[in-house]
């Protein structure tokens, strides 16, 4: 095996095994710090040894064994042997959980990282570090935070887990739906930060983050294959990611759905996302938020041309979503679909009703600007574009809005 091949094997092993190694160590030693550092050391040892010694027949097993040894070394070094071993023993002696609890250590890990007692930004950082295996500098870069600040954020989160004794376990069956939606919110936030990156100096689309969010959601789906919302979120991400390359022009400008080159959409991702949506429909259980959003995207991605879009279906799905989530942002998105079905005038009435709640939201002004433009009310449209440009944080979006404004007669 060449050095390059070995490097690829290690990258793959990192993707496949990181969360498993950290999770099993966290369980055994009852300490996320120890688990994280020992896992990192084990991977560093692999990078050192595998090119010379060859890849072991069972890379995952090798990594776990090596990480365990590193953890024990570390605990000995720190001279905390007695305490930690007692702690490790007490975690082993946990009473067995009921059989209906889903038993994978990685699930314990993700539920701990996304525990509601942690701040949202801490959950995101911990999830990417502990579950995703990203390094602190990588996470810091992804969120435009100085490395030291991101390091502190993660350290503080781990300290809180220890001090408040955030449990390392899968929540009880009755708490599970709420806690899963907490995990999905973290994954969706990571995806969205990649898909519509904020910050004037960043790339408009951060493929590293969207890819990572999809990878982690796939992993959660493998661990909880029967959960509808997990499947829904994965489908939503796939159907959104499928349009990624068509969404930004060569000159770095946002391309809206009606102007996208649909030939450039990723057919494999669309097929996979639509299959998931169909599977959920077949189950016949009332869909949650992510499943409905995925279904809306399935309708969009089924249309060869914008004009072929089944807008009545889209509006019906938004009606369903409004019943679950009566937030003004959902109402705004529904109005965009209404504009296609009933015309911009009807949509504008609906949008104007949202002014109180969305006056600081760039998409509210961008939507209004577009509707006013279609109604020939150029002057008002221009003012709305100006407001949208002032509030937009994404470089591609700003470029798009500016062009649209300048094209007004």
């Amino acid at each position: 095996m060449s050095v390059v091949d070995v490097r690829e094997v290690i990258t793959q092993a990192h993707h496949d095994e990181w969360a498993r190694v950290v999770a099993s160590l966290a369980r055994r030693f009852g300490d996320l710090d120890v688990a994280e550092e020992a896992a990192a050391e084990a991977f560093a040892t692999a990078v050192e040894r595998w090119p010379a010694d060859g890849v072991p027949p069972n890379p995952g097993g090798w990594l776990t064994t090596t990480a365990n040894r590193k953890a024990i070394d570390r605990i000995r070094r720190e001279n905390k042997r007695d305490d930690k071993q007692k702690e490790a023993q007490s975690m082993y002696d946990d009473p067995p959980e009921p059989l209906d609890a889903i038993d994978d250590e990685r699930l314990r890990l993700i539920f701990t990282c996304c525990h509601p007692a942690l701040a949202m930004e801490a959950r995101v950082a911990l999830t990417l570090r502990m579950f995703g295996g990203l390094t602190v500098p990588e996470i810091a870069r992804a969120f435009l935070v100085p490395e030291t600040a991101m390091g502190q954020r993660i350290t503080r989160a781990k300290a809180k887990i220890k001090a408040a004794r955030i449990p390392y376990r899968v929540p009880s069956v009755q708490d599970l739906p709420g806690r899963i939606s907490g995990v999905l919110a973290v994954l969706y936030l990571i995806f969205n930060e990649g898909y519509l990156a904020t910050g004037h100096d960043t790339d408009p689309v951060r493929h590293d983050l969207t890819a990572e969010a999809i990878r982690l959601t796939r992993l959660i789906r493998a661990l909880m294959p029967d959960d509808g919302e997990v499947a829904g979120l994965l489908a939503l991400m796939l159907l959104t990611e499928a349009r990624r390359t068509a969404r930004i022009s060569v000159s770095g400008e946002l391309v809206t759905l009606d102007e996208q080159d649909r030939e450039a959409w990723d057919a494999a991702l669309i097929a996979e996302g639509q299959r998931l949506v169909r599977e959920r429909l077949a189950v016949g259980v009332a869909p949650g938020r992510y499943q409905i959003l995925a279904a809306i995207n399935a309708v969009h991605t089924s249309a060869r041309h914008m004009r072929d879009t089944d807008w009545s279906q889209v509006v019906a799905l938004y009606d369903q979503l409004v019943r679950l989530d009566p937030s003004p942002i959902v109402a705004l998105n529904r109005a965009v679909a209404v504009a296609e079905l009933d015309g911009p005038e009807v949509a504008l009435v609906a949008v104007d009703r949202l002014e109180d709640k969305l006056a600081d939201y760039h998409a509210y002004h961008a939507t209004r600007a577009d509707l006013l433009r279609r109604l020939g009310r150029s002057q008002q449209s221009r003012a709305a574009y100006a407001k949208a440009i002032g509030l937009a944080g994404n470089t591609a979006e700003t470029a798009y809005l500016t062009r649209r404004r300048d094209q007004l007669g």
Binding site: P116, A117, A163, A164, R165, R169, D175
Partner: protein, 107 residues
């Protein structure tokens, strides 16, 4: 494990009779379910006296050690197996006493 559930108040005033009834019912439940350790309401911060006896003689100062808009109005100490249960009880406690609460572990 024991957790302190502090009740945070920001508008001077004791619990209303309705709130008190809800708190009592909640307390009874804590006892039945084995979570009860202790609970109590506190008089207004203005009733506090601060004592500092680290020096030569004890100094008594009138008033709370910290002047702030929000203050401790009461607390529960609960015994639970895991934090999640303490958080759930705290959420119910907040509803019953109609105030914000804070959960903190004992060392």
């Amino acid at each position: 494990m024991q957790y302190l559930v502090s009740v945070i108040d920001d508008n001077v005033g004791l619990a209303t009779p309705d709130e008190m009834a809800a708190i009592n019912a909640f307390n009874d439940r804590l006892k039945v379910e084995g979570h009860w350790v202790f609970a109590g309401g506190l008089a207004a911060p203005s009733s506090a006296t601060v004592i500092d006896n680290r020096g030569e003689e004890a100094i008594f100062t009138d008033g709370p050690f910290l002047e702030s808009k929000e203050y401790l109005a009461g607390f529960w100490i609960v015994e639970v197996a895991i934090l999640d249960v303490a958080l759930k009880l705290a959420a119910e406690g907040s509803k019953h006493c109609n105030r914000k609460v804070e959960v903190r572990p004992f060392l």
